[in-house]
């Protein structure tokens, strides 16, 4: 019985650690605020919840488990709310997402010069660490949708 308990909780701990790692990597590597907060949100909820569930499996049926459930519920509601509040504040303050479609009126009258400039900007960001391929694709998609 104990080996089953240990195996399950170890799997959950490793899963939580993997989510923490992914969240940390995303926080460093993703291009702008909204994508980064998306990565941080994973760390906040999924990773900590998995770790708490792993601790619950270790604790068995006891008062500790009840306390862990309460902590888990609290985190389950507060972390996404905090993420939402921060993202909402940024949106209200006027921060535009990295992949946001360009304003429609200027996009139709776009000259070839501007398009070249945009591609250059995309390349520069690509050098800075952002994936250049999806950026160009997303911009093309945004233009075609306009």
């Amino acid at each position: 019985m104990e080996i089953v308990q240990d195996t399950i909780s170890w799997l959950l701990i490793l899963g939580g650690a993997a989510f923490l790692l992914i969240g940390g990597l995303g926080l460093v590597r993703l291009p702008d605020f909204y994508t980064r907060i998306h990565a941080a949100g994973i760390t906040d909820t999924m990773a900590s919840e998995l770790l708490l569930v792993a601790l619950m499996v270790q604790a068995g049926f006891s008062l500790v488990t009840v306390k862990l459930i309460i902590i888990g519920l609290f985190l389950f509601f507060t972390s996404p709310t905090a993420t939402h509040a921060v993202a909402n504040a940024a949106f209200v303050a006027g921060l535009k997402p990295y992949f946001a479609p360009k304003p429609s009126a200027p996009a139709q009258e776009k000259t070839s010069e501007e398009k070249a400039g945009e591609e250059k900007i995309g390349e520069e960001k690509g050098v800075a660490g952002a994936p250049s391929g999806p950026v160009v694709q997303a911009e093309k998609g945004a233009e075609s949708s306009n």
Binding site: F74, F77, T78, T81, H84, A85, N88, V92
Partner: protein, 145 residues
């Protein structure tokens, strides 16, 4: 204020458990970690959260200035009263053992009442500090940020 819907709903759900947890920390303090100061801060945190989400004026209506002042003084008065009562019962200031015929029961009662006084004062002072900071007229206009 429409975009604060999520915050408002979550705050409404969370404030009662926060207050309940503050009371748990307050009255469980002699068996486990906790005590008056921590409980007071948690209790005040619930009110500060309420003021942050629902606005300062709404929170001021929940805890009026006069009540707050009375609570700040009342908690300290409760603390001092325990000391004076134990003096009147013929022992040193704040020696709880004489509060009850049984010394251990007296110590239990004394520490509980004293921690209650500490908790009330700390909660009221924290709320008062927050109110006085948040209630200051802004020195920078909103459009100058």
């Amino acid at each position: 204020m429409k975009h604060h819907l999520v915050l408002r709903v979550v705050t409404k759900v969370l404030i009662p458990p926060i207050l309940l947890f503050a009371l748990y920390v307050q009255f469980h303090g002699d068996f486990g970690p906790g005590g008056g100061f921590q409980a007071g801060v948690i209790f005040a945190a619930a009110f500060i959260l309420y003021a942050l989400v629902f606005g300062l004026e709404t929170a001021r209506r929940v805890v009026p200035q006069g009540t707050l002042r009375a609570l700040v003084a009342g908690g300290l008065l409760l603390y001092a009263t325990v000391g004076v009562v134990s003096m009147l019962l013929g022992d040193n200031f704040l020696n709880y053992s004489v509060l009850r015929p049984d010394a251990t029961a007296g110590q239990h009662l004394g520490i509980l009442v004293i921690e209650l006084g500490v908790g009330i004062t700390v909660a009221a002072v924290m709320i008062a500090i927050f109110f006085s900071f948040a209630g200051r007229p802004p020195t920078i206009k909103d459009e100058d940020w």
